[in-house]
């Protein structure tokens, strides 16, 4: 009897509360920042990764959840020409000598169209992954890609390509001897956080 009353009370509470409305419009205020830069992107890598997660849950949950997400990231690297100081470019007649700033990651993009949930397996009393959870898993995937990026040759490629481009550029301007120095690998930043 008591149980019936409890259920009835709960149902009534929901029914009465259902008269409420919640249509608060979302503010579409734009927040932006414009900065002038001077970066030369010279190398673009497209990489793919499979994000595997096995969520065994807490001790009080029965069953587990598994998810496989495939994703791609497009990474552009190059040099920041704004970092060139006055004494980094030495001109002597038809000879030019440049000390190039170190190569860095210019942009990192994970296009939503290239993110696909390949498989989801939910067992026991577990519930499917919500979009919020999937976004958290994708963030871990992104972090992992950024970590793995350190093993790629992207910064070396970017520097080599920048040297090739600038050599052609100065040849076009009429220079006959062009010497461009790169940054030694051990002096490069390991930061891939762009």
């Amino acid at each position: 009897m008591k149980q019936t009353f409890t259920y009835l009370f709960l149902a009534l509470a929901v029914v009465l509360n259902s008269c409420g409305t919640d249509e608060t419009p979302v503010s579409h205020k734009e927040i932006f920042e414009i900065r002038t830069i001077g970066t030369l992107s010279t190398s673009e890598y497209t990489v793919g990764k499979i994000i595997k997660l096995n969520d065994e849950g807490e001790w009080y949950t029965w069953g587990d959840r598994k998810i496989l997400i495939s994703c791609k990231a497009k990474i552009k690297a190059g040099v920041n020409l704004n970092k060139l100081k006055a004494d980094d470019i030495k001109v002597d007649g038809k000879k030019i000598e440049i000390q190039l700033p170190e190569a860095e990651i210019i942009s990192f993009e994970m296009n939503p169209e290239d993110i696909k949930t390949e498989m989801v397996d939910v067992s026991g009393f577990r519930f499917d992954f919500s979009q919020q959870e999937k976004n958290k898993i994708l963030r871990l995937g992104e972090k992992s890609i950024r970590e793995d990026m350190k093993q790629l040759n992207i910064l070396n490629d970017a520097e080599t390509n920048a040297i090739v481009f600038l050599t052609d550029f100065y040849k076009n301007l009429g220079f006959e001897e062009i010497i461009i120095h790169g940054t030694k690998q051990d002096k490069r930043t390991k930061n891939t956080d762009r």
Binding site: V14, S18, G20, T21, D22, E23, V26, S27, H28, E30, F32, E33, I34, R35, T36, I37, G38, T39, L40, S41, T42, S43, Y45, T46, V47, G48, K49, L53, N54, Y60, T61, L84, V91, I106, S107, E109, P112, F127, S130, Q131, Q132, E133, K134, N135, I137, L138, R139, L140, G141, E142, K143, S144, I145, D148, L152, D157, N161, F165, N172, L173
Partner: protein
């Protein structure tokens, strides 16, 4: 006397057990229905990174535009009966229970805050540039500045409200909407045009010529 003491002890142990069971069940229910799921406990497996394509590019970026937009998708219950039924159904789902308790007329709502970075400049790989000395001047012919990169990542995407069940393609649709809004804002702010001045400054800094430099766009 002895028997009544044993009986009292049994009752005490029994009551303590009941209290213990209530505490454990309460904790489990709280964790399942109300606790904030941070997801920090997730650990993904270490899988290799596959390099799919390597491209040589030549892009001179001169404007970086950082934008943050709010995108929202909202569905309301059409009738009160549908609202009551829908909210009762939400109460059965631990992830949705908090939305069911409030019993609002919102059937589904997904609100996202998306931060993005747009790079504007010139693409010298696709389009050529020329340097021609003319009448004692250096005439540089360049392609018009354009939008070169749109950087959106999960790290910069926040799901602010998730009420109801949403599919992947619906989330992606909202991200695409955010992207379109960012591009539109960039257009409104005439960033392609604004990319010209820093580009000219940068080229003049690189060229170091005694002759005056004239930049033309084609």
């Amino acid at each position: 006397m002895e028997r009544s003491k044993i009986s009292e002890l049994r009752t005490l142990i029994g009551r303590l057990l009941i209290v213990g069971v209530i505490v454990v069940v309460g904790y489990i229910l709280y964790q399942r229905f109300f606790a904030e799921k941070t997801g920090s406990g997730y650990a993904i497996e270490d899988t290799p990174l596959h390099v799919e394509e390597i491209r040589k590019i030549v892009e001179l970026n001169t404007i970086k535009f950082r934008d943050e937009v709010v995108v929202d998708s909202l569905e309301l219950y059409k009738t009160t009966a549908e609202q009551i039924q829908g909210n009762l159904e939400k109460l059965m789902d631990p992830d949705q229970a908090k939305h069911g308790i409030s019993s609002s007329n919102v059937k589904r709502r997904l609100t996202m805050v998306v931060k993005g970075e747009l790079l504007y400049g010139i693409d010298l790989k696709r389009k050529d540039f020329t340097v021609i000395p003319k009448d004692g001047k250096l005439v540089i012919s360049l392609p018009k500045p354009e939008l070169l990169s749109i950087n959106l990542t999960p790290r910069n995407t926040d799901i602010f409200v998730e009420n109801g069940t949403w599919k992947d393609y619906e989330r992606q649709l909202l991200i695409r909407k955010a992207r379109t809004k960012m591009i539109a804002t960039g257009e409104k702010l005439r960033l392609k045009e604004k990319a010209k001045a820093p580009l000219e400054r940068l080229l003049k800094q690189l060229i170091r010529s005694q002759a005056p430099i004239v930049i033309e766009y084609y």
